[in-house]
Amino acid sequence: MPNLKDLKNRIESVKSTRKITKAMQMVAAAKLRRAQEAAEMARPYAERFNAVMSKLAASVGDSDSAPRLLRGTGEDNVHLLVVMTAERGLCGGFNANIAKLARTEAESLKAHGKTVKIITVGKKGRDALKRDFGDLFIDHVDMTGVKNIGYDDAQAVAKNLLDRFDKGEFDVAKIFYSEFENVVSQIPTMQQVIPFQVDESAAEDEADANVVYDYEPDEEAILADLLPRGVATAIFSGLLENGASEQGARMSAMDNATRNAGEMIDDLTIEYNRSRQAVITNELIEIISGAEAL
């Protein structure tokens, strides 16, 4: 049986752990609200943007003159996976789930004989994938210094991607992030950004409305202008969703941790009281038997 002093120390240490997890939970809750707001504010732009893009892409179609970002390189050999995760841990399965999805995809691509390249955004994803795919890493974007994700950050990532695409370093690019559904559920998501994929439902809606648009300048020039922005927009909404998911995941993870610490404190306190009782009983027995012996 552990002695009283040890038990007391352990209770103290679990109590301070509980304080920390509780504080982290509250910080995450506050940050979550802000991250959620940011994600919601960005939604109108992304929705409208995609609607217009789909419309344009559908009308330009697969013609040879269509921009490469829409048409693709005509090949399907080199895949670039952009894995976006958090910079910090202690947020439940958040980082691991994204990394898992990316790993499954990378392995299945490899099994089909494709070349895989990986860019990581956020330290945790890099750490998780380093062992298996370290040799496939071509770049890493550090987001440690970024407090509130701005469009500029997304643009920087997008530019990196587009430069590589122009140099012919890859044929298909996919981004990995976690979609924020609610505090307890975040869905790891894979989205193809290059070549641009037409959102079927948006295109169909427009077919119903049957509106003929004027374009200024012509459709293809607009599309060429918009496609690079589309990549940035997709990355931006991915990053924002990620931001909200991370805080949500951390909040529930820390809530669990706080609860577990509470249970542990209860158990330890019972054990402590029992041992104290046992010590007292022991002392009493000693005193009584001592008295009887006289």
């Binding site: 960005a42 409208r48 943007f49 217009v52 509106v211 300048p217 202008d225």
Partner: protein
Amino acid sequence: MADTVQFDLVSPERLLTSVAAKEVRIPGAEGDMTAMPDHSPLITTLRPGILKVVSAEGEADYVVTGGFAEINADGISVLAEKAIARDDITQEHFKTLVDEASDKLAKAQEVYVNEPGPVDDAAKLLADMVAMGDHIGLSAN
């Protein structure tokens, strides 16, 4: 004929304004245009410039740096890359925008040595930016 049209100005980060507008002056890539209710459907890209919204509450100006506008039966949506209310823009702010445009030009000149297209585009962007600054009384230097 309706006398107002739903107008939304959104940047990637947020929805800046959503009002029933009487007219909207848009700095289109191929020239300024004024969109009024029942305008024919149109999609245009923007150049850096001033976007003016006239609504029942009065006039509001925004500085936009590019993006595009969509006009259809439901209303007018302007999706700007960056949009700032004119009153909020400062000399410093404007300076960064101009610097960005100059950087882009310098880079374009470096990368596309024998292709005038991208260089001209970048030069036009910078010129538009400076012209816009003159218009609102901010200097590019």
